[in-house]
Structure formats: structure tokens, C-alpha cells
């Protein structure tokens, strides 16, 4: 009797214990994976990040401050803010319009539109700059006309803004579309039945429902807009104090062997990247919550 009890207890306990070790790895495997993963990330991510700040401050705060307050650096910072300040709202407006059409209506060609929205991500930044040169450059489609009217797009601020708009094009739309699709249209339909107008529905129902995803898209869009290099490099013409954004200013100063100054301006962009990652992390939690809610409602 007592042995029978013991035996059945053993049968119950044993598989559980074996399962625990059987669905997890041995401690040494675990340690090895973590060591390899963190080692790789240290080598390729953390060391470069730390290097930016280390090199920027290597020659002291005076050099650092002088590098980021010289007139050319300041005008580069200003132009970067202008380019992001124009391209982010434009792409935000597009993202909202595209998401409204795609998520709230069933229409022909929807999948084609979705693919087209992603297109700029698969185009090399250099080619993004090139195509605007072909359209607006002196040899381009509108080159002669622009020159006759004394307007400049390429090697001027409008070209920089256009190239920035292109490379940041999908960010907001990509965040909004899946969320709005998951949320469905019941709330908007209810508002409509209760007599709300189109804009009223948009401001009072739709926008509050997607505000975190929208912010998330704007954060990513802004980071890319401020940091874009290749596309802007092609259309800028690199005129100091006029058509240099921060990344282009870094390149020029770096090529003049003023490494501390180049890293000083770079450190501002690295700080922006860290703030972006922090905001991204904070907003991500909310977006995930919202998506889960939308998913539950859909079921």
C-alpha cells in the first residue's frame, strides 16, 4: 500500500521535473547564448554609440561647444529642423488620408496601394536623390522652366525637403494602417448614425483611437528625417551655411580632419537617436495595448 502511494507520487513528480529541464536549456547553454548575444551587440552597437560621445568630448567641453555653436553648424542644425518640420507634417497628413481610405473602405486596388506605400523603403537613398535631380535638375524635366523663372529646387532647400519627404514617406502610414484596420469601423458608423459629420468623426472618434500609433510613426519619421544622409547628399550641392544639413555638415568637417568637431555634431544626432529610442519604447507599450484591445474587440 505505502509503496503503491510512493510509486504513484513518483510517477506524478518525475515527468514534471523532467519537463522543466526539457523545455529550457542547460545553464551553460543559456550563459553562452547571452554572452554571445551581448558580446555581438557590444561590438557592433554599444561600442560605436559610446565612441561618438567619447570622441566628441576628447578635446574638452570648450572644443565641443565651439564646434556646435559655430555659424555653419548652427545653420546646418536650422536646416535640419526646417527639413524635418516640413516633411513630417506632410507625411503625417498623407498617412492619415491613406489610412482612412484603406482601413475604413473596401475598394479595388487596395493591395497595390499598400505595396506602393512601402516602395520608398526599398529604394536606395542615393537613387531617391537621383530621381529628383532627373525631374528638377538643370538637365531635368523642369530644369529649363525653373531656371527661366529664377527658381531653384536642386542644390537648394526645396530639393532637400523633397528628398527627405521621399525617404520618410511610409513611416506614419505604416503605423496607422494596421491599427485602424484592426479597430474596424463600428465606432465611426455609430457616430455617423448619431448625426456626427465627417470631420467630427475624425477628430472625436478616429484620432483619439490612434493617437499613440500616430505619435509612434511621427517619432520614427522625425528621426529618419533629421538623420537622412544619402538622398540629401545628392540634391544638396553641399553649400556651406546654406544647403548643409547636420549629417552633411558632419561629413564636410570630418573630411577636413576636424574629428572632434565632426563627432560633436554627431553626438547631438546620437542624443536624438537615444531620445527616439526612449520615446519609442514608452509609446510602444501603449500601442501594443491598443492593438490588443482592437484585436479583442474584433473577436
Amino acid at each position: 500500500m505505502s509503496t503503491a502511494v510512493l510509486q504513484s507520487a513518483a510517477i506524478e513528480v518525475q515527468p514534471a521535473a523532467r519537463l522543466r529541464s526539457a523545455t529550457g536549456e542547460a545553464p551553460w547553454v543559456r550563459r553562452l547564448v547571452i554572452a554571445l548575444g551581448l558580446g555581438f551587440m557590444t561590438l557592433f552597437l554599444f561600442v560605436p554609440l559610446a565612441t561618438v560621445f567619447h570622441e566628441a568630448l576628447k578635446k574638452g567641453w570648450d572644443v565641443y561647444l565651439a564646434a556646435i555653436t559655430e555659424p555653419d553648424a548652427l545653420s546646418a542644425i536650422k536646416l535640419t529642423l526646417v527639413a524635418a518640420g516640413i516633411s513630417v507634417p506632410l507625411n503625417l497628413a498623407f498617412g492619415l488620408a491613406a489610412a482612412w481610405a484603406i482601413a475604413k473602405f473596401e475598394f479595388r486596388g487596395k493591395n497595390l496601394l499598400l505595396t506602393l506605400i512601402d516602395l520608398p523603403f526599398s529604394v536606395s537613398p542615393v537613387i531617391a536623390g537621383l530621381i529628383y535631380v532627373l525631374v528638377f535638375g538643370l538637365q531635368g524635366w523642369f530644369g529649363a522652366w525653373l531656371q527661366a523663372h529664377d527658381m531653384k529646387v536642386i542644390f537648394a532647400v526645396p530639393g532637400i525637403v523633397l528628398a527627405t519627404v521621399f525617404v520618410t514617406f511610409p513611416f506614419v502610414a505604416r503605423e496607422l494602417i494596421p491599427l485602424m484596420q484592426a479597430q474596424g469601423i463600428e465606432q465611426e458608423e455609430a457616430a455617423r448614425v448619431l448625426g456626427a459629420g465627417g470631420w467630427q468623426i475624425f477628430w472625436r472618434v478616429t484620432l483619439p483611437n490612434v493617437k499613440w500609433a500616430l505619435l509612434y510613426g511621427v517619432i520614427l519619421c522625425n528621426a529618419r528625417a533629421m538623420g537622412e544622409f544619402g538622398a540629401v547628399s545628392v540634391v544638396s550641392g553641399h553649400i556651406r551655411g546654406q544647403t548643409n544639413t547636420m549629417p552633411l555638415h558632419i561629413e564636410i568637417v570630418y573630411n577636413e580632419y576636424q574629428f572632434a568637431a565632426a563627432f560633436a555634431v554627431a553626438s547631438l544626432l546620437a542624443l536624438l537617436a537615444l531620445v527616439t529610442l526612449l520615446l519609442k519604447y514608452l509609446v510602444e507599450q501603449r500601442v501594443r495595448g491598443q492593438r490588443r484591445e482592437a484585436g479583442d474587440r474584433a473577436e
Partner: protein, 279 residues
Amino acid sequence: MILSRALLKRHSVLPGFDLALGFALLYISLIVLIPLSAAFLKTFTLSWQQFLDATTTPRVLASYRLTFGASFLAALLNAFFGLLVAWMLVRYTFPGKRVVDALVDLPFALPTAVAGIALTAIWAENGTLGQWLPFKVSFTPVGVWVALVFIGLPFVVRTVQPVLEDVNRELEEVAATLGATRWQTFSKVVFPIVLPALLTGFALAFARALGEYGSVIFIAGNMPMISEITPLLIITKLEQYDYAGATAIAVVMLVVSFALLLVINLLQAWARRRQGGVA
């Protein structure tokens, strides 16, 4: 009214379809489609022979070899370490895990020019890491590869991570009770589930690496025939006012990118089916 009558499959009580789709189509045409078509139209001004001549000179061919080779090897390393990092973040706990998780996206957030000068400084002969190596990294094709590894990592981690999170742990328990070792469970049960996502991440990293410019040009040294990437060659041609030549090479890259985009879409569809079947 025209848009809704022509395209809508079902009447909707919601307003704003014409305005929203009209604006979206106008904007996407002006910003993306018309400028992109300029590249193809410009190429049509060349004869077939001129196009071949512009895109197959030894210098251009050398740049393809470097760009495709380094991108492929970088995506390969990213696939391995991306899966490893994703596994580490999903399955294990360790101090500072949230910070590490957030920093995976650093290559997305850090401007490429900043990454470029930082990597060059580190891997230079007297740099933090370069001084310990018996061979040169900065200003060689190896440097190109290092920069492409940097920018590609998040693509693999962020495509594999959610799939790994959704893997049904009961499957692994079943495998264990049927007598599988942990390695067998991983290679025969878990790995096939994440494989489509892993391939998608690999393709995304590869596609991004092909077009990458900012992080590479600082560390590459940009020597023709040796460490000159294709996007740089496009810029060089532009600076020599060889617009047709630059555009011809750009069109080659665009066609490859679009083909990759198609492959990625197919992979994602496969991943969704695979996941749907298991989860």
C-alpha cells in the same frame, strides 16, 4: 464622387473616401511615382547597347560584386546573431534586458553618417578595436561588411522576435515527452516555425544593405575596383554630369530592389500561413 463610384466595392455610410484617397493618390504620384518613372524614362533615351556599356564596365561590375557580396555576408551574420539575440530576449532574463531590447533598434535611429564615422574610428588601425586585429578593417572591403552588419541587425531581430514569442510552448513539451533532446526540439520544432520569419529578416537586411550609403562611405576607403560600392558609383557619375550613366546603374539597382520586395512579400505571406497553421 468619381473615385468612390469607380473603385468602392461596397457602399459605406462613412464620408471622406474621395477626399482621403484622392489626396493619397495625388501625393504618392507627385512624391514617389512620377520621380521614380523619371529614372526609367531617362534610361529609355539610351540604346540597349549604351545601357549595357554603362552598366557592365569592369569598374561597375567590381562594385556589384562588392555590394552584393558584402550585403549577402552581412545579412548572413545578421541572420545568425539576429536569431540568437531574439532568442536571448524572448526566452531568457538578465539584468538590463529592457535597455538591451530597446537598443536593438539603434541602427534604425542613429543617422547613418554618425554610424559611419564612429565605425571608422573604432576599426581604424589605431582604433579601439582595430588595434587588436592583425589585418586592416577600415578602408577595406571588410569595413564595408562591418558597416552593413551594423545597419542590418534590427531587421532580423524584429522580424524573428514576435514569431518566437508566439511559439506554442506546448509543442516543445510534447517533443520533450516524446524523448527529443533539447537540440532536437529546437532544430526540428522551433526552428521550422521561425524559419520563414528568419528568411524574411535576412531578405530585409540584404535589401537594406544593397542600397546603404551613409554608413559605408566613411569606412570603405572608396577605392575604385576594390572598395567602391554601387550607390557611391552612382554619385560619382552624377558629379561627372554623366546623368544617363548614373541613371542606368540606378535602374539596375531599382529592378533588383523591386524583385527583392516581391520576394519579401511572398516570404511574409508564407510566414503568416506557417504561423497561422501552428499557433
